[in-house]
């Protein structure tokens, strides 16, 4: 920056009136030079100066590149080492210096590179658009400077004059009294300046265009000493603003589109908004620059001491303004701070500029903070929480001041932008500024106790920077900050996206429940004087009531308040539409949210008991509990049919404490997708209660088998290997046999041959069956056979049906098989086919007998840890099933997709209901670029280290090296198999780094994976549209999109397929359910009566299996394994085309005379083949017989489109 300064000085020396200064430079200039520059008036840029400035800005990137060096020098931990390496590097190669050493100051290289790219993308380019905005700004400035002064006028006169000019004075409420003694006045402003992020170059392109704040400093002369009292300043300010508006409007040269708005939604501070659509903007086409005009006062106009948070500046009516106060008056912190904020605009601009000069990374850190806030929905506006870009920048800047306060580590100017960003987030996460006000270089400043609002008091400027925040917005901010600090602490996974890229304030993803309250329910008069105050109080009341009532059931309660907008200058501010809604959002704690009893104080404790009864009203009951205690308590009903407990409580207390009308108008949305699956709502304290019957049955059968006497070998393990036994099946267990695996103690007496081992297993199973039936009369057993053409694979299983109706399918695991298979792989004397078959068998063996077991255990543990996991998995599987894709995905793979959402929840906390878990999983699938990114799940991340359980999660936590290993494997697969015929999705965990266990052999195929992504994207779009719909409705607007029921995400587009085989209702699973609801037949629990296994509904899966084996090369089959009412098929595009004759085509062909011009062999000159679709359909019908009721063919070729994707 040095050259710029020099140049500037020279120009000052010239001392000419036209000292050329760009607006941006000007502001800096003012801070750099001392007070005297303030006196010198702002002047306009002459056009020829532009070139010069552009040069300066062109020079900037170079400077930025050099930035990594100072960062290095100051990064505390790495000083000596990195310096050495830095030097070494300079000698060898200059290129990579940027970044090699940034691992410490930037988390890691990838993170840094992404941050750089992000900054490049969002920074303003200072191109044509901006030039146009600046030009407009200069025009405005000269226009304002030439406005004539107006003589002092009484309020009535002033209103009348301006009304004739078509401007209504935007007086704040309460309106000034008609008989006010003071006069309003307009005089030329003492200076006009750009302020805010634009001149600081911290503005970004993502905020829907550039916003430039133009401050107009009102001359001190128009104010009186006591104007800070009783809104007098604000009335004068409003008049001043109205005069400006009238002046701009009346300008003949330019026509700007002018309207009023409030600054940050604060009704005390109206501002002028100049819209780009007005013709006043030079080449405004498509430009999205907006200029705000803010009238301010110079800092010394009013004494800062009078405006401290504790003082009162609004005297009660009837009392004399300066009369000695008889009793201490209630402090008016918000009023004081608003006034003070008008007086400190310039000094903050100076502060921020000074800091950005001193600390190179400050601007970038501000931009990062800006993005972070935006993605979380925070803004300076009162209704958006009152924490925006300015507050962020000011806090970072103040923390950068040397030793802000003992006990707080100051930020160092040598920090990188990332470090500054992280340190600021950490500051917010760690300090509860509501409980413990933070003050800076100020002593003896008191803060009003009652409000509880957060305080960050900047002593030198005498302002509580957070004055616009409330307790609830601060706790929300703190929560988000904590989540981000957590995310940034993750050393294994890249958290860049979750920190900066993802929008996290989407209600459907972020919160578990939403309560919509129409403003009309409060029955406030929007025209009344203190409407805003009342509404604010009501919100506070609701908040505190809900917090008290819901206790630990919720983790966060936030409010989404409707926006307020600009209004035309010719009318007074319109009253707020009562159609708008307040949205109250809840994030629940799943372990507590569904508790049916709230315990109160003991009966003896009279005072507390009375307060408890007063709070709960007739809901409070005195109850005697098992342990003998007699407590006040509240009991809630927990039936599937009724509203959720959360809803019952909220509506009850709101009705009782806020307004009895409210409960009637409220709309409560909670876990809306959960009812789609049986027992989808979390009951009691866990999400797995509905599986307990099956789990108990498993435990008891395990015991029974272990107790058998007469088995030749001891049993080592009996372990679950089935989704029904890890809380992950769509329907509650009972409908299908659940796989379990038995392992005997090692013995040398097994035959040393794969086939003989299988037969020995059969003998064991027969023995177990015999012993079990003999010992337990209620247990039915039968040995079944499988894999008839693979004698070295498992040949037999034992189906055990217990009295409760559950069936378990027992297989024997013998660890010698792996060794034998591996030996076969190495054996050179075997032929090629045998090698292939051994390799397949080994993969299958590892999956079925090793990986499934550890996976099942891991999922079991996670489901007990996270109550929402089980319903979320089941809902997600349901989605896959409804779109007929589930058979293409291993159940374990779908589970991993959902587990990822729970173990890497950032930027959100861990999901706490089925709906959020499901929707976030879909959102991730939609984003997942599986061609280039592996899915990695670290089960150990949920584990406290060195706990007893962690054994089952593999060896310790996942390290960066493990991650690298997975990445290498993934890249290797993509290299071996670039067209992805074999491995399409890659899913690794810390216990299984191979990555293809669940996805090998094209399961799913590329076309299916692409369909998954397309469907997830479509679903995500719908969710986003609904989100927009909710927000629009909250703002009182009608939208075209109707509220979509959750079911709509679960309807399959059957027309996308080439052919559809309809299964006759006798054999499909749906026919047993109620007929009235044809679309979602299988939502209810299907309790197939005992002993019905092997009934007619089990024929279709066998038929589908045959279809796959027989027509697998020609048709890709899709079906829903739960309903089995139809099977859809897509012709493989490779076979639909005509091709040369081949003996073993692998599909049913019909000969055709090929067209001329296609080169063919001598003999097959004229004959080609293509698939014989009629014969294939006929084959299918012959094969299916009565199972198939009819086959439909879709003429459209959408199927081909699915393939071509």
């Amino acid at each position: 920056m040095a050259p710029a300064i020099k140049r500037r000085k020279i120009k000052h020396d010239n001392g000419s009136d036209e000292s050329e200064a760009n607006f941006l430079e000007e502001t800096k200039d003012e801070e750099l030079s001392s007070e005297d520059s303030e006196a010198s008036n702002v002047s306009m840029d002459a056009p020829e100066e532009r070139d010069d400035d552009e040069e300066a800005s062109n020079g900037e990137p170079e400077e930025q590149d050099n930035m990594s060096e100072p960062v290095l020098r100051c990064a505390p931990a790495t000083v000596s080492k990195t310096d050495n390496t830095a030097k070494a590097h300079k000698r060898q190669d200059v290129q990579p210096r940027d970044g090699v050493f940034t691992a410490e100051s930037f988390k890691n290289n990838v993170f840094k590179l992404q941050v750089n790219e992000l900054l490049d993308q969002v920074k303003l380019k200072h191109g044509k658009k901006e030039a146009s905005a600046e030009k407009a700004m200069r025009m405005l400035k000269s226009l304002i400077e030439h406005l004539p002064s107006r003589a002092p006028a009484s309020i009535a006169e002033a209103e009348k004059t301006l009304e004739s000019a078509g401007v209504a004075i935007p007086f704040p409420s309460p309106r000034p009294p008609k008989d006010a003694k003071y006069k309003l006045q307009y005089e030329r402003p003492s200076s006009i300046n750009a302020t805010g992020s634009y001149p600081l170059k911290t503005a970004t392109r993502t905020d829907g265009g550039v916003v430039i704040d133009l401050v107009v400093v009102m001359p001190k002369a128009i104010f009186q000493e006591k104007d800070y009292l009783n809104f007098r300043y604000f009335y004068k300010r409003a008049y001043y603003l109205a005069c400006l508006a009238a002046g701009i409007k009346a300008s003949k040269e330019h026509s700007f589109k002018v309207s009023f708005d409030t600054l940050n939604g604060n009704h005390l501070q109206p501002v002028i908004v100049i819209d780009p659509s007005g013709s006043g903007f030079p080449d405004s086409s498509g430009s999205s620059c907006r200029i705000n005009i803010l009238p301010i006062v110079s800092e010394e106009t009013f004494p800062g001491a009078k405006l401290l948070p504790k003082s009162n500046c609004v005297r009660p009516k009837g009392e004399d303004d300066d009369g000695p106060a008889t009793k201490p008056l209630a402090p008016t912190p918000f009023y004081n701070s608003t006034l003070r904020s008008d007086a400190t605009v310039t000094s903050y601009l100076k502060l921020l500029h000074a800091v950005s000069e001193k600390c190179d990374a400050f601007k970038d850190a501000c931009i990062l903070g800006r993005i972070w806030l935006r993605q979380r929905g925070f803004g300076s506006s009162l209704r958006k929480g009152g924490f925006g870009n300015f507050e962020w920048a000011a806090i970072t800047a103040l923390l950068l001041q040397p030793s802000p306060r003992p006990g707080t580590a100051p930020l160092s100017p040598g920090y990188s932008s990332y470090q500054l960003f992280k340190a600021t987030v950490q500051f917010l996460a760690r300090n509860d500024l509501c409980k413990k006000p933070f003050t800076l270089q100020s002593r003896d400043v008191d803060f009003p106790k009652s409000s509880g609002a957060p305080v960050f008091f900047d002593g030198p400027r005498g302002l509580n920077i957070l004055f616009k925040m409330t307790i609830r917005s601060y706790s929300q901010l703190q929560f988000e900050a904590k989540t981000t600090v957590d995310a940034l602490g993750d050393s294994v996974f890249d958290q860049f996206d979750s920190t900066f890229i993802l929008r996290t304030d989407l209600l459907r993803y972020r919160y578990d429940a939403t309560l919509g309250l129409p403003l009309s329910a409060f029955e406030f008069d929007p025209k009344s004087d203190d409407y805003n105050g009342k509404l604010g109080e009501a919100c506070n009341k609701i908040y505190s009531t809900l917090i008290r009532a819901l206790t630990d059931r919720v983790t966060t309660v936030t409010f989404t308040l409707p926006d307020s907008g600009a209004w035309p200058i010719s009318t007074p501010k319109p009253p707020e539409s009562q159609q708008k809604h307040i949205l109250i959002n809840f994030a629940i704690d799943p372990a507590n949210a569904h508790r049916t009893i709230d315990y109160g104080p003991a009966a003896e404790n009279k005072q507390e008991a009375a307060s408890f009864r007063k709070f709960w009203g007739d809901k409070a009951e005195l109850r005697r509990f098992k342990d003998g205690s007699i407590l006040e308590s509240v009991v809630w009903s927990n039936k599937d049919t009724t509203a959720t407990i959360l809803e019952q409580i909220s509506l009850h207390v709101l009705g009782r404490h806020v307004d009895s009308q409210i409960a009637e108008n409220a709309e409560f949305v909670n876990d809306s997708f959960a009812p789609l699956i049986a027992s989808g709502r979390i009951q009691g304290q866990s999400g797995i209660a509905s599986f307990s019957l099956a789990m108990n049955a498993f435990t008891s059968i395990e015991k029974d088998i272990r107790e058998l006497e007469g088995l030749p070998l001891q049993i080592r393990h009996i372990r679950a290997a089935d989704e029904q036994l890890r809380y992950a099946s769509i329907n509650l267990p009972l409908s299908r046999p659940a796989s379990i695996v038995l392992q005997f103690e090692a013995s040398a007496r097994w035959p040393d041959d794969l086939c003989a081992i299988q037969r020995t297993k059969t003998a064991f199973l027969l023995k177990i069956a015999e012993l079990l039936s003999a010992a337990h009369s209620g247990v039915a057993t039968r040995v079944g056979l499988e894999n008839p053409s693979q004698p070295s694979h498992n040949q037999a299983y034992l189906d055990i049906t217990v009295r409760t109706g559950f069936t378990f399918r027992l297989r024997i695991y013998h660890d010698r098989e792996a060794t034998l298979l591996e030996r076969q792989l190495k054996d050179k004397s075997l032929d090629v086919h045998s090698h292939e078959s051994s390799a397949t068998a080994l993969a299958l063996y590892k999956r079925e007998f090793i990986q499934v077991l550890s996976h099942t255990q891991a999922i079991q543990n996670l489901c007990t840890r996270y109550p929402a996991l089980s319903p979320a998995i089941r809902l997600t599987k349901k989605w896959f099933a409804c779109h007929l894709m589930l058979p293409h995905f291993a159940p374990e793979l779908v589970e991993l997709l959902v587990v990822r959402t729970f173990l890497q929840p950032h930027p959100w906390p861990t999901p706490s209901c089925a709906t959020t878990g499901f929707l976030r999983t879909l959102a991730w699938i939609a984003r997942w670029d599986w061609r280039h990114v592996p899915l990695v799940v670290d089960f150990s991340s949920s584990m406290p280290s060195n706990s007893a359980e962690s054994e089952s999660y593999g060896k310790g936590t996942m390290k960066l090296e493990d991650m690298e290993q997975v990445q290498t494997r993934f890249e290797a697969w993509r290299q071996i198999d670039p067209v992805m015929n074999r491995v399409v999705l890659f899913a690794a965990t810390n216990i299984d780094t191979s990555g293809n266990t669940w996805t090998d052999m094209g399961r799913p195929e590329k076309v299916v994976a692409a369909r998954m992504t397309a469907l997830a994207k479509a679903a995500t779009t719908v969710i986003r549209a609904q989100e927009d719909h909710i927000m629009a409705a909250a703002n009182g607007k009608e939208t075209a999109t109707a509220d979509l029921p959750p079911e709509s995400l679960f309807i399959s587009q059957i027309r996308d397929y080439d052919l559809v085989i309809h299964i006759s209702s006798k054999y499909s699973r749906v026919s047993k359910d109620k007929k009235s609801e044809p679309k979602y037949k299988n939502l209810e629990i299907q309790l197939i009566p005992k002993g019905s296994l092997g009934a007619e509904t089990d024929l279709v899966p066998l038929f589908v299996e045959d279809l796959q084996n027989v027509f697998g090369d020609a048709v890709l089959w899709f079906w829903d394994p739960e309903s089995l009412d139809r099977i859809a098929g897509l012709w493989n595009p490779l076979v639909s085309r005509q091709r040369a004759f081949k003996v073993k085509a692998g599909w049913n062909s019909a000969p055709v005379r090929s067209r001329d011009g296609e080169p063919k062999g001598m003999n097959e000159k004229s004959v080609g083949i293509h698939i014989n679709k009629r014969a294939v359909l006929n084959d299918i019908k012959r094969l299916g017989g009565d199972l198939v009721s009819r086959i439909d063919v879709n003429r459209s070729c959408i199927g081909d489109r699915m393939y071509s994707k």
Partner: protein, 334 residues
């Protein structure tokens, strides 16, 4: 669109009757309910020629080779086809190449594989029918009637587009059959495909499977016992063979390394040994020369670290560049 048109145009142009050496025999498929209108009248095409395998087998000269057999083809309905509608030639047997579920396949030795080829397509079938305990395979045994597991499907299906070799009783029958086929094609006579045998397709197929897959335990136990007895016998002779192979040098004087010789230790002992080995390695690591003893070691390590950092950075940079290429610029979500 283009997918469905060839049907009609091909029909109008008349279906070709030969391709290469193959004669194309259209079969009329039965009319079935539930199919779309345009699909009711369907033909299946067999491609038939005299069998001429690259490795001649004894039965090759009395066999016909059929490509694209119907999915429900079986020995009996192929036999009926030739006997009833194609000149009455008598079929001895039919071998299919892709039956579902296929016959049990065993792993074999390389030299053995050659032998099997010579035996032709019958090889696969033979296992089921003939007792061949002298046949040593790489694993298990070739099962016979007594030791084979009960079948769990009532009949095999053929993979769509599969092939079959039809062996006739003599050369004359084969020649006659081929002639008959060619005549039928020339005359354009309609040959009807009767479809699957009872129980092989349709609801029956699946119903029967549901009960067949749970065989009678007594029967199952008997086959298991038979299998293990036969296995004991075979494994003894296999071990003897292997032992011989271990001991006998080949013509160059080398002794082939083969498996066998038994397991050295029971499973439990193997585990113990592995544990011990790990322990020893751990101890060795502790007692070894420290790797930061000499200055050059430190220097080299530092250098190595630096190189690693650089490599890591280069790799990361490439990764990020690729990422940008893929998904465009990094931009916060709206």
């Amino acid at each position: 669109m283009a997918l469905d048109k060839p049907h009609k145009s091909a029909k109008r142009k008349a279906t070709p009757t030969t391709v290469g050496e193959f004669t194309i025999l259209p079969l009329t498929l039965p009319k079935l309910p539930g199919l779309p209108e345009a699909y009711t009248d369907a033909k299946h095409y067999l491609y038939i020629k005299a069998h001429a395998p690259s490795n001649p087998t004894p039965s090759a000269d009395r066999s016909l080779f059929i490509a694209n057999v119907p999915i429900d083809a079986s020995e009996s309905n192929i036999r009926q086809l030739f006997a009833g509608q194609l000149g009455g030639s008598r079929v001895e047997s039919v071998g299919f190449d892709s039956a579902i579920p296929g016959a049990p396949t065993l792993k074999r030795f390389k030299d053995d594989a050659g032998k099997r080829d010579k035996e032709g397509e019958e090889g696969a079938k033979r296992g089921k029918k003939r007792k061949r305990d002298e046949d040593v395979v790489a694993e298990g045994i070739v099962e016979d009637e007594a030791s084979a597991l009960p079948r769990i499907w009532s009949g095999d299906l053929q993979k769509s587009g599969g092939c079959a070799v039809v062996v006739f009783v003599d050369k004359e029958s084969k020649r006659g059959a081929l002639k008959a086929v060619q005549r039928v094609v020339k005359e354009g006579r309609t040959i009807e495909w009767k479809g699957g045998d009872k129980g092989v397709v349709g609801v029956e197929r699946y119903k029967s499977h549901l009960s067949l897959r749970y065989p009678n335990p007594t029967h199952l136990l008997a086959t298991t016992t038979a299998y293990l007895t036969q296995y004991d016998r075979v494994s003894t002779s296999r071990n003897r063979l292997l032992a011989a192979a271990r001991a006998v040098p080949d013509e160059d004087g080398f002794i082939t390394v083969t498996r066998g010789g038994g397991r050295t230790a029971p499973a439990a002992r193997v585990e113990l040994a592995e544990q011990k080995k790990a322990e020893l390695e751990e101890r060795k690591k502790k007692n070894g020369v420290k790797d930061d003893f000499y200055r050059f070691q430190n220097r080299e390590r530092r250098k190595e670290e630096e190189m690693k950092l650089r490599r890591g950075f280069e790799r990361d940079r490439k990764r990020v560049a690729e990422m940008r290429e893929r998904r465009g610029v990094v931009r916060p979500e709206d």
